[in-house]
């Protein structure tokens, strides 16, 4: 009885559908132009590309599980990258010997993660203690972070790093591109966090019913602080990957990533009202989006049209999923107190 139910829920799970979608998109693009899409070069280049926004999507997934959203991830990524880049160009520079530049690189990485955590904490404080709606708090904070990055750089790109910086974005470890490896590690960590820790369970319970979480004596404020802080940390990791791949940092890199990563989280089955989401679903959504994006690239669809497609896709997915989510929401028409 129990095992029967489990198999049927496994097949009915939205993640199963997402896996099929990813395979179908891949097969479709492969058929459209087998010699280009399926070439080793294209596959490798995709594996180097998607971790940037995939890590941002993980950050948004985490926050979305609480029913909130973090619109400042790109701002945080750029601010932390700009700070790291300034440290590297100021103290290291391209001509420094290997060991010294490694040291400075480590320091820059630490500073960047610290900036991510502090920026996330700021978001968390706005949401948890001042009770601001997450969408507005993080939108405002995101503009502040971007503004700080512009103020630090005057708006131009910071470049001229020691060679070691390029390692993150351009090498392979055990046959896997380093950015992909970072993404896999972060995804696994997030999966464990959500399913195996008290903190993760509290996140999905809070997302299901914030009031009941308060009544069940969950430390709601502390939990929100940690969630936004982690989101900021993830964003700064994404910032490091972007910096290393571009071999520069700029206040307005990756501006199209915000919409894309929200889209991926929603496409990945995360309930934007909170309470439900699985990392594996987000991974499938990332793959689908990357296949689609590369495919559109090969078909020479312009970048502007792509934003339009992403937006329309987001609305479409939300509309088709609404019936599913609605079963997860409280009845609205309640008359008795």
């Amino acid at each position: 009885m129990t095992s029967n139910r489990k198999t049927s829920t496994w097949r009915q799970a939205p993640e199963f559908r997402l896996a099929i979608i990813a395979v179908v998109v891949f097969a479709f693009m492969g058929m459209l132009s087998p010699e280009r899409f399926l070439s080793e070069q294209n596959l490798t280049s995709m594996a180097f590309q998607f971790p940037e926004f995939a890590i941002l999507a993980l950050a948004i997934t985490l926050v979305m599980m609480t029913g909130g959203i973090d619109l400042s991830v790109v701002g945080i990524a750029n601010l932390s990258a700009v700070v790291a880049a300034l440290i590297l160009t100021e103290f290291a520079g391209p001509d420094l010997p290997m060991q010294a530049s490694l040291l400075w690189f480590g320091f820059a990485l630490g500073a960047s993660l610290l900036i991510g955590a502090v920026a996330g904490l700021l978001n968390g404080a706005l949401v948890a203690f001042l009770g601001l709606p997450p969408i507005l708090a993080t939108l405002g904070a995101g503009l502040v972070f971007t503004g700080l990055a512009i103020a630090l750089t005057g708006g131009s790109a910071v470049m001229g790093f020691p060679e070691v910086v390029a390692v993150i974005g351009n090498t392979q470890v055990l046959g896997l591109p380093t950015p992909l490896l970072i993404f896999i590690l972060l995804a696994m960590a997030l999966h464990l966090l959500m399913t195996r820790t008290a903190f993760g369970i509290r996140i999905s319970m809070f997302g299901t019913n914030p009031l009941a979480a308060l009544y069940a004596a969950v430390d709601v404020k502390g939990m929100l602080l940690k969630v936004y802080m982690l989101s900021g940390l993830f964003a700064s990791v994404a910032g490091m990957v972007i910096m290393s791949r571009a071999n520069s940092a700029k206040a307005d890199y990756g501006s199209s990533y915000l919409l894309l990563s929200v889209l991926i989280a929603v496409l990945g089955g995360v309930n934007p009202y909170g309470g439900y989401g699985r990392v594996i679903g987000v991974v499938f959504a990332v793959l689908s989006m990357q296949f689609l994006s590369s495919g559109l690239n090969m078909l020479q669809v312009s970048n502007f049209a792509r934003e339009l497609i992403w937006g329309a896709l987001l609305l479409f997915v939300m509309t088709t999923n609404t019936t599913f989510w609605n079963t997860f929401r409280l009845p609205l028409a309640r008359h008795k107190k």
Binding site: T2, L192, R196, I201, R202, M205, N209, A212, A217, K336
Partner: protein
């Protein structure tokens, strides 16, 4: 299926309503004549709210026929129902607290007339006429939020009349009224009946309205189980029909006479909610707190668990003060709180039964940062078995359970934490009769094991059968304290409403 009745204003024939597998109404015939007053009685979950929603056009019946004025209506919606003169007054009256009396009364009427502009003078005239019709004098420029509860109800009635109501359905009309206010409500009902307006009372406490009613209809588990002239019913027979059996209520277990005080509440005060409240709870004692809706009982209950921050006062547990207004501190000092509204405050509806139980004890299962999942599942299933939560499948979402089983889940969550004091706000609201007496047994056995239990309720038989002492609240003050053994239900009802 009954034959249509040509004289009736509204007849429902063979109406059935199913929600995803649950039959809320099963082949029910219900007829209201012009100027007739009917009591629609039933426990929580008996289907009376569903019937009311179908009449109001909010829900569509799965099967069955509805006729209004002898004309068959295939699809009712809220606007059609209102246009036919069917008005529902919900328990919270659905008024706009920030608008004036006149605006509230005129609003619905002007809306149905498709007026695009608001005419202040028309609104005032309309309101004055409607209020005169029920013979009450309420300042029409007053904002509704500043009115007492009884006046809000009158405004809701006047609003229904202004929209030319022919049938007024009142949901739990007397829960928040004092005895004198109930009297004047009954006088108004009689006037309405003389005007040819029909009234349906929906309630589980009907003694007060029996005298103005012609007919009583009793629902149980979605079926009509009794119907007849009001004279043939009294409180006892109504209860029997509603519950389907005579449920013997045990008196509370005898309190072991120990002087040991568990919790002391001193001069607890919250402006606008409760004033200068002091009481003690001893080990093994069940303390009842009762009062009408709006008497401050719920705010007080929440304040004991830190969900409401009092401006003054002190709470001591075992002689040590507990920080006020901090639910986490309250929980870690081993106070538990089972909220009044299970669905919005108590449960995580889409999450599994296991998680709903385990959320209270996550830290206990934390081993080096990771949860010991087998232990957590084992622990949660142990507690839900102990409270006989009926489910084939403990991974099932808690929303798949019945009200009684849901309440057991919340109880299990708190009792797994081994509390010293457990606060139960409305422990058996929306729970079927069988579960209700089980929950009462649980309360008794908790007290016997040395817990201090606070039961906040307006269910008088429940209080009398579970509590050793009952505090009566009115307007935020404790006005009386009665030993449960010494008071009858009627005396308690009188103290509450006088």
């Amino acid at each position: 299926m009954a034959l249509p009745d040509p004289g009736a204003f509204v007849s429902m024939m063979g109406v059935t309503k199913r929600y995803a597998g649950v039959t809320a109404l099963d082949n029910v015939d219900f007829r209201v004549g012009a100027g007739e007053a009917i009591c629609l009685a039933g426990e929580n979950g008996s289907g009376k709210s569903t019937l009311l929603k179908i009449l109001a056009g909010v829900e569509q019946p799965t099967e069955g026929v509805i006729q209004i004025d002898g004309l068959q209506k295939d699809q009712l919606n809220p606007r059609l129902s209102a246009a036919a003169g069917i008005m529902v007054i919900f328990q919270d009256f659905s008024l706009f607290p920030n608008l004036t009396v006149a605006e509230n009364i005129a609003f619905a009427c002007q809306l149905t007339q498709h007026q695009k502009w608001f005419h202040k003078r028309d609104a005032r005239t309309l309101a004055t006429v409607a209020l005169e019709r029920i013979g009450v004098d309420i300042p029409i420029d007053e904002r509704v939020e500043s009115l007492p509860v009884a006046h809000k109800q009158l405004v809701a009635i006047a609003r229904a009349l202004a929209s030319e109501a022919r049938l007024i359905i009142m949901d739990e009309p007397t829960t928040a009224l004092t005895e004198r206010e109930v009297r004047s409500l009954l006088r108004i009902i009689r006037m309405l009946k003389d005007d040819g307006v029909a009234v349906v009372f929906v309630s589980h406490k009907l003694a007060e309205v029996l005298e103005v009613s012609e007919r009583v209809v009793v629902l149980r588990n979605g079926c009509k189980v009794a119907e007849g002239p009001a004279e043939e019913f009294d409180t006892t027979s109504l209860t029997r029909h509603m519950t389907g059996r005579d449920v013997p209520e045990h008196p509370p277990n005898r309190l072991i006479e120990t002087p040991e005080t568990l919790m002391q509440v001193r001069n607890l005060n919250k402006e606008g909610s409760f004033h200068d409240v002091s009481f003690d709870i001893r080990k093994g004692e069940v303390l009842g707190i009762t009062g009408l809706l709006g008497s401050g009982r719920t705010s007080l209950a929440k304040a004991l668990f830190g969900l409401v921050t009092p401006d003054k006062g002190q709470i001591n547990l075992n002689g040590r003060p507990i920080p006020l207004g901090d639910p986490i501190a309250a929980a870690s000092s081993q106070i538990g709180y089972v909220p009044e509204d299970r669905l919005t405050e108590g449960l995580f509806l889409t999450q599994s039964i296991i998680r709903n139980v385990a959320i209270g004890r996550l830290d206990h299962h934390d081993k080096h940062g990771f949860l010991d999942l087998p232990a957590l599942v084992g622990d949660a299933s142990k507690w839900s078995n102990r409270f006989k939560v009926k489910t084939p499948y403990i991974e099932a979402p808690v929303q798949s359970l019945s009200g009684g089983n849901q309440q057991r889940v919340v109880l299990a969550r708190w009792l797994a934490r081994a509390p010293l004091v457990l606060i139960l706000n409305g422990p058996s609201v929306g729970v079927d009769v069988g579960s209700k007496s089980d929950i009462h047994d649980i309360i008794r056995s908790l007290a016997s094991s040395g817990l201090g239990v606070v039961v906040i309720s307006d269910d008088l038989p429940e209080l009398i059968s579970t509590c050793h002492r009952i505090l009566v609240m009115r307007l935020g003050k404790i006005i009386d304290e009665v030993g449960a053994g010494t008071v009858t239900e009627e005396e308690l009802a009188y103290k509450l409403a006088s």
